[in-house]
């Protein structure tokens, strides 16, 4: 069950957060395992946030892919 979905934190209430999965789907999830702020994205697995998603890192990954693909294109 590695299925985990990114969701944006809308509200925080102690160990719970109200998150938005996009397209109008929202749910309450448990955030005990992460340090996340409202507006950040978390990875949700079986009702729990297991990691914070780094936008900066996502952008870096894409930029790294561009580098890999560009290399050897000379």
């Amino acid at each position: 069950m590695c299925l985990a979905i990114p969701a944006k934190i809308l509200r925080l209430e102690g160990t719970k957060a109200h998150v938005d999965f996009g397209q109008g789907v929202s749910r309450e999830v448990n955030v005990s395992l992460v340090e996340a702020k409202v507006g950040e994205y978390v990875l949700v697995h079986a009702g729990y946030a297991i990691q914070v998603l780094e936008e900066k890192e996502a952008l870096e990954t894409l930029s790294l892919w561009n580098d890999v693909l560009a290399a050897g294109q000379e």
């Binding site: 069950m1 590695c2 299925l3 985990a4 448990n30 005990s32 395992l33 992460v34 340090e35 990875l43 697995h45 079986a46 009702g47 729990y48 297991i50 990691q51 998603l53 780094e54 936008e55 890192e57 996502a58 952008l59 870096e60 990954t61 894409l62 892919w65 890999v68 693909l69 050897g72």
Partner: protein
């Protein structure tokens, strides 16, 4: 804002496939192994094998935590229902065969078995029905185990306990390296398990076994890029640990989750359906939490069960020795609607993934 579509953009996929072709050795078979049902889903669903050169193969290891729950532990859940206990679990555990019956068959005979999406749902049920005993059958690898840990360490009602069947991934990876004639040249490491455990547990494979290892995300371009990185290592005779999924996986993993797991569990030897006993591969609730351990609370211990039905070859599928289509029962006697073995039951099972995506198989 991140253009998330880049992670599954087909043009990008084809560009990566070109790079893969350029870096693949001209001769000899190169074989990579992943250990995650969701990776197999991405690979099969998006037809990634059709983008790879003929001599590059990706096999699926035991990446399905439901598939490897031994029949004996399903039997324990069934025995609990016979004592009037309510069993709660994730959906795909229901049809996994026990030695005699599955939980679904037990339910059809009157057992109280309920599907939940999250453990907390089961705890809520227990609070609402204090006259009944509730057990959550906790299945899953390191992605899921921390969640059980958090709940086990919280203020649980007295009528709630866990039947723990959690297993750990790195021991299974090490096992695969010992399987004769499997000839693995590199690992595609599981992204969400790694989000929890970080990178350190894989150092064993690069440092001791000289096995290239790349932690991969789950979008098709994540997997293709990871295969490219592995091939580049192979072509340079290298053996490094790389993190392709850095947007989710930090080198230290999730320290809070790791700490919760240590607080709630000890590591013991575990039985894996179709594989047998692997040392240090299972989690057990600590003795301080014995009151929440269903096996202790209800004195239910089944030592041996019937793991593999006659004709079933799940034990060969889960270690990547055969592909589902090489099993004589695949899509004949064994289908998603009428599964014979656990690999066809779970949404993460290799056989079920192939059965549901068979139109895209090369």
């Amino acid at each position: 804002m991140v253009d998330t579509l880049r992670f599954r953009n087909p043009e990008l996929a084809h560009s990566i496939a070109e790079k893969i072709k350029a870096v693949t050795p001209k001769k000899g078979l190169v074989k990579f192994c992943h250990v995650c049902g969701t990776h197999e889903w991405t690979i099969t669903h998006f037809g990634l094998r059709s983008l790879l050169p003929e001599n590059v193969e990706v096999i699926a290891g035991p990446g399905c935590p439901v598939c490897i729950v031994p029949a004996a532990e399903i039997d324990e859940a069934v025995q609990l229902t016979q004592k009037g206990v309510v069993i709660t679990c994730f959906g795909d555990l229901l049809r996994v065969p026990g030695s005699q019956v599955s939980l679904l068959e037990a339910k059809a005979s009157g057992a109280d078995v309920r599907i939940v999406y999250a453990v907390s749902d089961a705890v809520e049920m227990a609070k609402r029905e204090p006259q009944k005993e509730f057990v959550f059958h906790a299945v899953g690898f390191e992605t899921t185990a921390p969640i059980t840990a958090v709940e086990a360490l919280s203020d649980l009602p007295k009528n709630f306990s866990f039947l723990v069947s959690h297993r750990l991934i790195p021991p299974a990876m090490e096992l695969l390296l010992g399987v004769g004639d499997l000839h693995i040249d590199g690992f595609i490491a599981p992204g969400h398990v790694s989000a929890i455990i970080g990178l350190k547990p894989y150092e064993l494979f690069t440092r001791v076994y000289r096995m290239p290892t790349v932690v991969a995300g789950f979008e098709p371009n994540d997997v293709l890029m990871s295969i490219y990185l592995l091939l580049k290592q192979v072509s340079e005779n290298d053996a490094q640990l790389e993190n392709e999924y850095s947007r989710v996986v930090k080198p230290e993993g999730n320290p809070k989750a790791i700490e919760m797991m240590k607080k709630a569990f000890t590591v013991t030897a575990g039985n894996w359906r179709g594989i047998g006993r692997l040392p240090d591969s299972a989690l057990q609730l600590r003795t301080s939490l014995a009151q929440y351990d269903a096996r202790e609370k209800f004195n239910v211990h089944v030592k041996e069960g019937k793991d593999i039905n006659f004709g079933c070859e799940c034990h060969l599928v889960i270690i990547g020795k055969i592909k589902p289509k090489e099993c004589p029962l695949f899509l004949k006697a064994c289908t998603p609607a009428k599964p014979v073995g656990a690999c066809m039951v779970s949404s993460e099972g290799t056989c079920r993934v192939w059965a549901k995506n068979v139109a895209v198989q090369a």
